[in-house]
Symmetry: C2
Subunit: 141 residues, 2 copies
């Protein structure tokens, strides 16, 4: 994969370029839903070429998060943190309470509401956090 492109991306964010960081970055880019540090670690160490330590994964995720490349959240019921690329778009997720799978939702149902709420309460609304819990089609069977 485009390691040259990555070098540029990293430079832009002031992130030193290493093999491990590229691997984590690429894996996060391919992931379609928020994932845990351990999931990343497991996947990457399976493809032996990218083997790396779990604490390195945590350190990289931490760095990416601080630089604004990645979003971290603690929404999981089991207490594990999840990470996903920060696509700079406001986004919410649908979480299955049976299998813990996470799916992004298109659009935000609260845009107008926030504006009205700000006017009626005189709060300066900054942001909101929303997660929707349910049972996914597979688990319903």
């Amino acid at each position: 994969m485009g390691s040259i492109d990555l070098k540029v991306v990293f430079k832009k964010y002031g992130i030193k370029n290493t093999v491990q960081r590229q691997a984590v970055y690429n894996y996060l880019t391919d992931a379609s839903a928020p994932i845990t540090a351990e999931q990343i670690y497991m996947e990457l160490t399976q493809s032996e070429s990218d083997a790396m330590n779990l604490s390195t994964v945590y350190r990289i995720l931490d760095l990416f998060t601080k630089k604004g490349l990645v979003l971290k959240s603690n929404l999981q019921a089991d207490g594990k943190s999840t990470y996903e690329m920060n696509h700079m778009e406001h986004r919410h997720h649908l979480i299955c309470v049976k299998c813990n799978s996470i799916v992004p939702i298109k659009g935000c149902p609260l845009e107008d509401y926030e504006k009205r709420l700000g006017e009626s309460t005189n709060y300066q609304i900054l942001e909101h956090h929303l997660e929707i819990l349910g049972i996914c089609p597979k688990c319903r069977k």
Copy 2:
């Protein structure tokens, strides 16, 4: 405080009545915002009369949560779980990022949305968590 009333409440939920459970229940009832197990533990052991073990607090919170008396959530940024009384009303909060004050919001902006989302995704929607962050009128000055 009404220990006789509590006996009745506990019985209704199939919960055996103990001093510790009463103490936790009363403390949760008085709390105006979600709190952690440790906060409860600290508070109760300060008033020596209610001293109890931290694992007991966890066990009681677990029990109350399973019985539906209490709501648990993992939304905290630091990864700690918080607990609050289940008032059986669906409610959201407006949180001031300056002074951390929490104000309940009237009504839920997501009722219709949830129904449509369930239809379009084929998920069985169970519930959602929403919190809105902003700056309160006082802190805006």
